[in-house]
Amino acid sequence: MVTTGYSDTFGRTVANGLGSASSGQAYSLLGTATQFSVAPNTASIAIASTGDKVGYVDMQTQNLDITGQVAFSSIPITNLATVGFVGKLTSTSNYYSGTMMVAPGGAVSLRFSKVVAGGLSTISTTAVAGLTYVAGTFYNLRYQIYWSRPLQTNVMSLKVWAVGATEPGGWMATATDAAFTDYTAGTQVGIYGRDESSVSGTIITRHRSVLARSYNLPMPAVADPMCYDPGVAFPKQTALESLADAADVAMATIDPLTSLAGLFPRVRISNTALSYNTALSPNLTYNATEFNIATDTNLGYDNTSLYLPVGIWLVTFEILLAEAASDFLYVIPFGGPSIGTPAIKMRSNPSQANDQGAGGSGHVSALTFSTDPTTPLQYGVSIIANNGATTYTIRYMALSAIKVSDYFV
């Protein structure tokens, strides 16, 4: 039988090397065996020398969605250190990696790299705001890379979050690269560590509880005799029965309603009792996330905008102004694919006729689309006062978006 999928709880002890993964495959190594070891629950790689250190297995599928806990024994003193995963590996000279990187002082970044014909290059690096690494602390790291047929490129994503915390919606870093196509990419996957310093140090990377998402269906190996032969313990029947059992378990875990909910990414941000001065900034700011499900919106980095990934989106903005001196307000969403974004014009004085109803309330909805997989569509709202007073009180406002369709269909 050929083993598919990849998972490893590292529940073993190995002195020089990594042994065999929980999913059954024996690890191959890039690096010296003495640099790798396994103590119960943790794999360690001594990365303190030049070059990538990789332990990898074959999971029989190219596209990858892998999660595990990662840590460094110490913070680098002179240069960067990285820990994470490799994917689509064909050989030790050709593969992708997605990693968490720590700089001297503890600043954390997420990095995509590739090794093509033995040459290492960085695809992109994204700083993780507000996270300072403390030596020895494990973080969850999730790395996804898949070949997009519509885009004809690999789309890769990363996120990191504290062990025990809820996994954040969306991704913290996304990039694309087409160095290895669906024809040339490999099916091997594994754990990764690298010390960027040319000075030998003592940093050790650690991995725990690694799981590549796969239904792990067993397949008969090409060498299996598929003919009926009682003399070889009925191999065909056994293979079919184990395949049926595995398919049974896999199908039982699929919940279409839950998964479908995850396919309707949606987000809503709001603010209440906002004192707002149009002379300072035309862009409205938000301080609450009412919900944020399965979107790439990183509200932590920008409180004025939604960041919408590729797709067709229905965006809605609602606003309720407190009474104020008579004035006109132009409420104009910014972002969108071109000029002519939807807008509302309204008064803040309820004694005047209001363009959108009494009491200084307004609402605008529009369909829009986002096409660039590396640069999400920024969508926010500006207010421009026509004349007179510049200070307003917004009793409530909310900006929301729901993806209604994929773009490439």
Binding site: F234, A244, A366
Partner: protein, 198 residues
């Protein structure tokens, strides 16, 4: 076949059986049917029909009458119902009677002069449909009125939800006043499929 799995009931041969190629075929067919059933809602979601059409040049001024929003640019359309330069969206002929949501962002542009407070600005979404049994045509008109204040041109945002079959949609600006105005470049008509009429 002498065995089935506990949850999904997939067929498999037990070791005393004399299995043949039909065993693998039956198992594969069973799993395949289940997977297709599970994936159906996802595939339907990924292909949800929708469109966005945009006017690319401000229309000629008029003060009494109507002017259709002309979609010089197709920002997005996976329905096949838009034609660049046309003012109409046509529902796919093969689509069953379906609920759709339509929206319009209509910028009313002052062509000359000063707007007069109280002049009528009316946005209209006209949804035409056919009776699925008799084929008789009918239409529903949705309106949003936003009369002139003194702000140098009004903006109209409106939405309509309607069941349609072999139908079409046109967005229109209707005026009754004294100042020449027109549908401004950048105005949009959009729509998205909500689901079948049941």
């Amino acid at each position: 076949m002498s065995g089935t799995t506990a949850v999904e009931g997939y067929p498999y041969p037990l070791t005393p059986d004399f299995a043949d190629v039909q065993d693998a075929f039956r198992l594969a067919s069973s799993v395949d049917a289940d997977l297709r059933g599970e994936q159906a809602p996802f595939r339907a979601f990924m292909g949800r029909p929708s469109f966005i059409g945009r006017q690319t040049a401000t229309g000629s001024g008029f003060s009494v009458g109507s002017q259709a929003l002309s979609m010089g640019a197709i920002d997005w359309d996976n329905t096949g119902g838009l034609t660049a330069g046309s003012s109409i969206w046509n529902q796919p002929l093969a689509q069953q009677p379906s609920w759709w949501m339509f929206g319009m962002t209509l910028f009313v542009s002052i062509i000359s002069g000063t707007p007069v407070v109280g002049d009528m600005n009316l946005g209209q979404i006209n949804v035409s449909t056919s009776d699925p049994v008799t084929g008789l045509p009918s239409s529903s008109k949705f309106f949003q009125r936003n009369d002139e204040t003194n702000t140098a041109g009004e903006w109209i945002n409106m939405f309509a939800m309607a069941p349609i079959y072999q139908g079409s949609v046109v967005a229109t600006l209707i005026l009754n006043g004294t100042t020449p105005k027109a549908v401004q470049s950048g105005s949009r008509l959009w729509g998205m499929y909500l689901g079948p009429v049941t």
